[in-house]
Symmetry: C2
């Protein structure tokens, strides 16, 4: 079980304050497997064990009630957001873990600020909420397509940092994962979707539009990780060409995070002491 000793810091960014500390996304190889034992069978067994341990920790988070946990999953099409939900959170009770997949905003949503719909779905005390895509789409799609200016994008980074600071200062732990795959891996996965009748429904023509803007999206991701990787809500870039490694890394880091929260059951109610159910 070497997984808990691994240094994740080369994959993390938590210093949005310093403009000089730009995160170099191009220096992270999507094929890296820092959390792997070197043996795929062993890695898979580890993920299964971790998923069960995470279920136990989720129960403890729910009983403890001091914290909320918000997990953000971002990444290009086919980067494995759905697979992470199944592989890492699949063992947890639907009562304690919730998930929402963010699509393009509705007319009602566009009539308010872009954080309006997001704020409505932040986790309650004791809950885990997993965002499949998130408010970060609002600093990816609009700047890449030229719908907002650089100044407006910067303004949004500041809004998001302020929003996440308020969340953390009111008891929400925010964990943000960017699932990082290579352009080649995406090609293979998109082709697989097209070729498999059971997966074809997931294919949208839009996926190819975004693929044509690959370099622009990579640059926008590098910018947002640099600008919104804060001490209170750091980013972790997850090398995700290997699905098993992706799950292993995320599950390991979440377990470490939950363990660091020193969760406990509430004190026994004295009225229950020596009580016998008859």
């Amino acid at each position: 079980m070497a997984a808990t000793k691994i240094d994740a810091s080369p994959y993390q960014h938590a210093t949005a304050d310093s403009a000089s500390k730009k995160f170099r996304l191009d220096k992270v190889d999507p094929g890296d497997k820092p959390f792997s034992t070197g043996d795929k069978v062993e890695d898979r067994a580890l993920v299964d064990t971790l998923a069960v341990e995470l279920d136990t920790l989720q129960n403890l988070l729910y009983a403890d009630r001091r914290f909320k946990l918000l997990v953000v999953l971002q990444g290009t099409d086919t980067s494995g957001k759905d697979g992470t939900l199944r592989g890492v959170f699949g063992r947890m009770s639907a009562l304690g873990v919730k998930t929402i997949g963010w699509k393009a905003p509705s007319e009602q949503e566009r009539a308010r600020d872009y954080l309006w719909r997001i704020h409505q779905h932040v986790p309650a005390a004791g809950e885990i909420m997993v965002f499949n895509r998130s408010h970060y789409e609002d600093v990816l799609v609009p700047p890449v397509n030229g719908w907002i200016t650089k100044a407006q994008t910067k303004q949004r980074y500041a809004h998001i940092n302020d929003f996440e600071r308020m969340l953390t200062e009111t008891g929400t732990v925010v964990c943000k994962f960017m699932l990082h795959i290579s352009k080649d891996e995406q090609r293979a996965r998109l082709q697989e979707r097209l070729d498999d009748p059971a997966k074809r429904w997931k294919f949208a023509a839009d996926d190819l539009t975004a693929r044509k803007q690959w370099d622009d999206y990579q640059a926008a991701y590098a910018d947002l990780v640099s600008a919104t990787g804060t001490s209170w809500a750091p980013w972790t870039v997850v090398p995700a060409d290997s699905k098993t490694h992706r799950n292993l890394m995320i599950a390991t880091l979440l377990k470490q995070k939950l363990e660091s929260m020193d969760l406990g059951y509430p004190p026994d109610d004295p009225a229950l002491k020596d009580l016998k159910v008859t």
Copy 2:
């Protein structure tokens, strides 16, 4: 119609950045009538005229759709929040102006950050939303009762300033009015509630608890006006011992604000040109 030439600046605070610029609430006489013509009958007629003009401006805001208007009414019990709603906003269509009275948070609401429920009710494009009490209760009741520390109160001021900046930067105009009455005027109004069977239902025993904490609440109001009167969302302290003056001042300032927004109807659809309905 001298009302539009009056200098409201002695009653406004818009410089939260500077700790030295503390707002002196005790220097504002609740009996002042800076917006009065000196004639009560004329003042009342002015309020009626303004209410009709505000209805027209609300229609224009709705057609224009570039802005949202959030009006915050704060003030101690009997300070006239309900009366302002009737007197200033009563002529507007319920389609374009909405109002919400904030009570103590529910269990569901307490399970999230204190801005969660507030954010859900911000106005949509073209709408006016009037808050009868607001998120400012969260920096009044808890500090006065010692439920949160001074450091936590400061942290909340920062959250609120960040939140309101995000709102203004995404098209919401935020107008905050503190209805300022004297302790004597409150005594008279509370007694009136008790003595009048048609008003007695509005009386809550809690009102007397808060009255006993009068000085603490005045200090908390002075602190919050100083800390959250920002350039993007300034506070106006409204001398409110006179109900007519209160409505006159708020209606005048709102009219000025709406007129400054340069609202207009959207351009005609060319397809409608020379169209005859047959």
